[in-house]
Amino acid sequence: MNIILYLSNFMIPLVFVYIIGFGLLSKVNVFDVFVKGVMDGFKVVLNIMPTLIGLMVAVGILRASGALDFLTMVLTPITNLVKFPSELVPIALMRTVSSSAATGLVLDLFKTYGPDSTIGRMVSVMMGCTETIFYTLSVYFLAVNIKKTRYTITGALLANIAGIIFSVFITYRLFG
């Protein structure tokens, strides 16, 4: 496990060295090309910004109004039936719309229960195998003006639910 931690610290710098080294070896003007590429990044963010503002405001309103707590309350009896910890419900819901909001809730749990508690481990595994469905969908589909998303949401939801269920199962299994 220490090796994995050690490796993950090296991951991003290694990617840098690999890409730049490969560029040098292929006789690319690495800095000129890099600067040109940076311009593309500006355009990408400029395209995303309006969507992001719209969605973050909507999520903010949902959270501040107490609607999210209300949803958790409604869902708790169901989740209790299947031994799904109700502390994870708001995160599972939040996770579908906003990564940063979900992260905020995760850090909250770490603070309350500790990252090495069952809940803490469960939520860590869960965050590693799920994605922000609605955020990703809106950014990707809006970028090319798609109005009808067909079965994408169903598929994404199914995959995420499978991941969440498995996270709970494997955490109980491995860490008791």
Binding site: M1, S26, V28, R63, A64, G66, G114, D116, F134, T171
Partner: protein, 193 residues
């Protein structure tokens, strides 16, 4: 879809807020969230630009091409209807590689490029093509192998072993991605367009 979702999120939130008497908080949060979104974008400009810059180097040096070459069998299985040399495949491969490495922020630019290229071969411009659906389902099912952010947060909160969740997280990712792929494959077979 998003039209309604977005509208209902706001309307539902405001109605609940009114019932709970949280109107001042709702107002404040709405304004704060828009500010927060812009701040997030400013951070994103730095991180994403850094990556698009590096990706440009990887592109010009032929690195992406060689990685894409290695991913061809997988892409051929997932997207049987896209011709092998179509540019969308290059971007899909790049997006997946970034996701696998846990570089979530770095996956978006090539992902958007992939969507653009897929849109060029989409017969109905307002309806998502099967390839777009498959691509996004896999993307959202999270193919991440190194959840770097979570490891960082865990160590920040004094975990005895922040990396211990990597193994189970990889297993969970495999499960969610498999479910996504199977669903996408079934739907691809069932729908005609």
């Amino acid at each position: 879809m998003l039209n309604y979702l977005w509208a209902y999120m706001i309307i539902f939130g405001i109605i609940i807020g009114a019932i709970n008497g949280n109107m001042p908080e709702v107002t404040q949060t709405a304004i704060d969230s828009s500010k927060e979104a812009v701040q997030l974008c400013i951070t994103l400009v730095g991180v994403i630009s850094l990556w698009t810059g590096l990706m440009k180097i990887a592109e010009e040096s032929g690195l992406i091409k060689s990685l894409t070459e290695k991913m061809k069998p997988i892409l051929r299985f997932l997207f049987p209807n896209i011709p092998d040399n179509h540019p969308s495949k290059k971007y899909i491969a790049t997006n997946m590689i970034a996701n696998i490495l846990g570089l979530g922020w770095a996956a978006t630019p090539p992902g958007l490029k992939a969507m653009e290229k897929l849109q060029e071969i989409n017969p109905h411009k307002e309806v998502a093509s099967k390839e777009m659906c498959t691509f996004l389902i896999i993307n959202i099912s999270s193919v991440q192998l190194l959840p770097i952010n979570i490891i960082a947060y865990r160590s920040q909160y004094q975990s005895a072993n922040p990396a211990e969740i990597i193994g189970p997280a990889i297993l969970a990712t495999i499960v969610s991605t498999c479910v996504g792929v199977i669903f996408a494959k079934v739907m691809m077979k069932r729908s005609r367009v």
